[in-house]
Symmetry: C2
Subunit: 230 residues, 2 copies
């Protein structure tokens, strides 16, 4: 009984997501859907990105169940930001993003970063019209997360493995994590970094900048996950 209704919801979502994608492509805007567990460091990654990505104009949509804590952190950087409170819903959907765009002037932006609700499961199903899904995962979560949450890790174009500064204080097997990801999703880029020390952030900024430049190329492009991986 429940499944057909969910399929209808997903179909409706996909229609809105395709509208958004067309709009983003036309504007040459590179849009990233950031996914990860609560506390993986998604907002910290955005903060470090805003500090370092000086050549790019960035905007942010913050998704949370409650509070504007994350948008407040981002607003200090003086960039366009909107907080979406889902009121209990476990993921963002395309309609929420479309509504948020009503309060966010994206003209002139190069990159729109959408931080999804902290959840390693449900957001995987909801296309937001993004060019790429990126998972943010952190060392304290353990090296088995790719095996235990395969849906999300199979869909992403890149994985940011955060909190590398804690590597000597944890029983985290880096080679195992790398192998699990390479086996499940060999095309996904893996960027190991620390938002605390800054280690490894340059590669993430470079990854983002390269794709933002491609999105602006004349003649437009299809912002497919496959092209994100190039």
């Amino acid at each position: 009984m429940q499944i057909p209704v969910i399929q209808k919801v997903l179909a409706a979502n996909d229609l809105i997501a395709e509208e958004l994608r067309a709009q983003f492509e036309k504007a040459g805007l590179f849009v990233v859907n950031l996914l990860g567990s609560p506390g993986a460091g998604k907002t910290s990654l955005l903060e470090r990105t805003l500090e370092r990505a000086r050549g790019m104009k960035l905007g942010v949509i913050e998704g949370d169940l409650a509070t504007s804590l994350d948008a407040d952190r981002i607003a200090r950087f003086g960039v366009p930001v909107v907080q979406v409170n889902t009121g209990g819903a476990c993921h963002l959907d395309a309609a929420m993003v479309r509504k948020a765009l009503g309060s966010l002037d994206v003209s002139g932006l190069d990159v729109l970063l959408i931080e999804n609700v902290g959840n390693l499961i449900c957001p995987a199903q909801f296309d937001l019209g993004e060019a790429c899904k990126v998972a943010v995962c952190s060392l304290p979560e353990g090296d088995d997360k790719v095996l235990k949450y395969p849906a999300i890790f199979s869909l992403v174009s890149a994985v940011v493995l955060n909190k590398l500064d804690l590597v000597n204080h944890l029983n985290f097997n880096l080679p195992d994590f790398r192998r699990h990801l390479a086996e499940l999703n060999p095309d996904a880029a893996l960027m190991e970094l620390s938002c605390l020390t800054g280690e490894g952030l340059d590669r993430w900024i470079e990854w983002l900048g390269l794709r933002a430049r491609k999105a602006r190329e004349p003649g437009g492009r299809s912002q497919s996950p496959a092209q994100c991986r190039e």
Copy 2:
């Protein structure tokens, strides 16, 4: 359109949960629904509990999207354990627990620990017939989690704050975390501990043992969250 169907699903779930609760009470079995983000340390807490709770007979139901990794970790302790793979679903429901009980002999057990799917949102809505919900949260997730995920933290009888061993390597404000929890849910017990060093585990074992003894008292008892808090 979606909401009435979800309400029907929840109503159906609650009926099964009430059946399970009656069955658990009759058997004098204390049942805990363990909730938390991916990687908060739910399985590690179970491992340490099985090592230390020598006076109690424990059984475990492990919930995960995929793999039997967690049940394999528990099975090494020689206790009854069943792995439930939800096949993508973001939470356990009462029907899954009822089915799991078909493969798990709970007669003679004092405590049944149900580890829910790693998710700080969706499992809050699904009663499993448990006596208590307990949230497992960890320092690396950040001190703002009670504010950002209020639904789950308002329902729990206790919070286990794990990975205390990392306190000097993180910007985690313990007084803030304690205050947020006390303001949202003043009756919830807070147990700060480390599954790595063992610090603070005694209080958790004592909390569990006290409630298991109450559940076995003659004349039965209603295993309400309020009584869990006593």
